[in-house]
Subunit: 307 residues, 4 copies
């Protein structure tokens, strides 16, 4: 159960079998930092090219293909005061007719991020919104492991290995589960958002650098098909694909499988989800979209399959 | 502001320019009943063929094409004790490979609906779920007006006129807004659910007959493109289309338009939604899927466009 | 085997259970005319509002729900010299980024249609294309029967009942098969194109009025799921849905079924189609898109299931 | 204009920046071989793991990011007598309801490939099809260059860099154009099919090893967005994406751009394509689908933009 302090010196814009930056054991905890989507660090200095650069990869010693890696986000905290967003809803999220006729001009917006007051406040441009303020909800936009088949996959998209899911629920206190495709799993993370709307429909959250603490564990011999997670109230699965309905299919199928692993027979799992399932929408900006399928732990307890 | 008591004697399985059952004025309130999706009434007697049969249509005197009709759901209450659901997740909501290999057998489930305890409890089939119980969340699965262009559209699907949206948020206390395409608007409603999972992924909620009270108002000379609604906390828009991402496009575009009508310039509306928008998933079982795009009234108040 | 001459005096912009304009028998032939998509007739006079107005419906005496109606297009001939097209590719057919930044202005184009030379020649606007000339390929853009469930469905879209499929293969000499949903089938047709690109990507072909001759036959007790057709070389099925991949699913499944009806067991049908299937793309402009799945009659003859 | 004879000793199942097997110059010709999708060579011996293993990559000396690489397929010839196919249409190509209820059992089929008679004949399994025979149409299923952003992308899918497009038109005599993302371009090819139905709907063509001859050329300073090609009669573009309609968007937009490069203004290009465009469907089995958009060279000549 070692504790590691790791300060990155280079970053990756594809998730792949890159040279590990650190070898750690199952159970270990890592303190590290992430730069923002454009490669700017805690001092707001660009230290690497943009495109969701990732800290890592971290090699977890016992992880082998066919295992599952869990990562608990112990702490996710903006480590500077300036955040930035895009300002125009992506054309793929609007009616084609609106896009052809009515799109506003682009540009960047700047936000003041205050971790004392726990707020993000719009600084510029000057609009009717004035000093528009939202409560912080820090989340990790992009994280994952090296994908299968010798691939290296852009951090602009997502798949079975995780990636750029931009799901608001990937917050401090959440445990994520990732399939292991290569020896050491090779965990990467980055693209922190101080706050974000559902879908990341302008293509950014309030992009910011983070101080991060996470703890890994390897579940030997257990294989999963898609990223999973649990928080205090829910178990959830993330399907990453285009079109959006296929992301629904992947997430739903994976949650049905999970209920099966918990001991529910198929018929029971289908009946339960039919009336109790919930969905959240992740990224609808990337090449692959993300849908999250979830069910309350209280319901699983009621039917005796969760402690 | 008259109050009408209307007991239906026939029903429609398409929303269209059928003979009105009642002529009412803007501001009037109607007490009526709906049968369940299969045409069974409060006594659990089949009184009409199945397929989401609708009560109505109601002709609202001053409504003309280009107006908007608002309907406040004053009361939505199950009026019998038995509800029914399907038991298998629809094949379009699961991975094709799972569907090809792993689908459980079908059949119906019965639920005891108790409006005193405010619960729905699984009665049959006998499964590991035992007497699985969920709190009630009564909602109207299908409602809408006569569509444009002389069409009559099946209550198995949805479009700009409303229809079978199966959105859990269409509950008591909500005000819905519908575009008016024909004189009198011709409002229909039916397909009540005592409770339902997101997406109606088994193709049913807990299907049940309702006692309903609703109040209509006509907004003259105001036209909208898609169904809208407001509840205590949110304003929201519903996009109805396949594929699912197109439902996202319609709902998002309509909410951008609404913010414009409230006085936000485009650039401000895009920036605000980028970090504050939320989405809920309605029906993903029907020919047309439903996505809801919403924003908190508290946020609109903060930026001065909501009283 | 009567021959009918019918001159329409009114038209419909939804396919539905409208009052029949003529009652005919299975085996009968009808000579009639169609107006163009905008309601202009052989004299280029607007005689009805636009929106793909349809001639009909024709009531075929013996046709009952569950039967199949065949319609042989004996003759499809432009009956005036002027045709019109839109000039801008629809935004749903182009990349959202292109649509946001690069769309040209709209407007109409006029074409000279010459049935002697069998050509369509661009008259206006004046562009680099000059007197751009294409050979004629007259086709019926929209035809079908009254849909099921009391529906009336806009002639801007398509479904199991046919409708606005805009498939270039629906030409003179082709026999189409349509499912019968109501007594008399209620056949409609209109929206003639002198020539059209695949997909109708500008939203129009060279729109023109037609002289039409067609012959109907009822196949009693045979039910089909989707429109089918045969020409000299192919049997084909049309799937009408969004998204486009679902149109592929419907068309493929229907052709598998057709091969089954011809006597091929499933395994043989799958193997054959795997290496011999062909697809054509119909309309990708409408709410529902169209894909055609086809196989050569020569191949069916080779394996002994076609005479 | 050197000629190279290259016999591969290892293969790749992802397209990426692998160590080049050969450095060649623009204008050079290469004679080489490809193994089949499962890694079997001309002697039907498995020499590498399956998954569309690729021969290459070939480093073309002058190619730099932002250039275009052309590859002329001089010769594509099956070099053994046995080919194999899957036998079941993929579940994503059929209606979900059909998949849930009616899928036949799987298994492999073997075909005798005869380059003298130019035929592929079904050998097994024994079905009603008997010795079903199709004419050969040899095509390259998968080819492409190293993708951008340090990615390595599985040969099971496709994108801007090419990949597993399975388009029947990529035959001998065709010239393909590929965007160059890395120094040397790094051209790979493999996955030969003796014949294939549109869409590769069973997930395979008649899979076979090839003798291949190809000639490369670099177009300096010219950048394209998607794979392009030309044959004797057509220029064409390939869009690779899910959903299928997005593949249509990419291909159409790229052909509009190509017409612009040829000198047609946007308005003229849109009008021309509206009535003269054609589409072919490539792979609908992979994660990314392929649609091809094309226009006849004779039409381009008529309007003076093709020599």
């Amino acid at each position: 159960m070692a504790i590691h302090h790791f300060q990155p010196t280079h970053y990756h814009t594809a998730l792949g079998a890159h040279e590990p930056v650190l070898h750690i054991e199952s159970g270990d905890t890592v303190f590290t930092t992430t730069v923002d989507n454009a490669g700017y660090d805690a001092t707001d200095t660009q230290v690497t090219p943009g495109g969701n650069p990732q800290t890592g990869p971290f090699y977890i010693e016992s992880a082998e293909p066919g295992d599952t890696l869990t990562v608990h986000f112990d702490r996710i905290l903006p480590n500077r005061k300036i955040g930035r967003t895009a300002t125009v809803i992506a054309p793929n999220v609007l009616d084609p007719g609106y896009v052809a006729a009515e799109m506003p001009a682009g540009g960047r917006a700047e936000w003041h991020v205050d971790v004392e007051k726990w707020t993000a406040t719009l600084l510029s441009p000057q609009t009717q919104l004035g000093a528009f303020t939202l409560p912080l909800e820090p989340m990790v936009g992009c994280f994952g492991v090296a994908p299968p088949r010798g691939q290296a996959i852009s951090t602009a998209t997502s798949s079975t290995h995780g990636g750029n899911m931009d799901y608001r629920g990937f917050q401090e206190g959440v445990t994520v589960y990732l399939p292991v495709f290569v020896a050491g799993a090779l965990f990467h993370l980055g693209d922190g958002h101080a706050v974000q709307g559902d879908g990341e429909i302008v293509g950014t959250g309030v992009e910011i650098s983070f101080d991060v603490q996470f703890t890994v564990n390897v579940i030997k011999g257990k294989s999963i098909n898609w990223p999973r997670a649990e928080n205090a109230d829910y178990i959830l699965t993330a399907g990453n694909a285009r079109p959006l309905a296929q992301a629904v299919q992947h997430a739903t199928t994976e949650l049905v499988r999970w209920l099966g692993e918990l001991g529910l027979k198929k018929r029971a799992a289908h009946i339960l989800l039919g009336q109790a399932v919930q969905y959240d929408m992740g990224n609808v900006f990337d090449p692959a979209y993300t849908m999250v399928c979830k069910v309350k732990k209280s319901i699983l307890r009621e039917v005796g399959v969760w402690e």
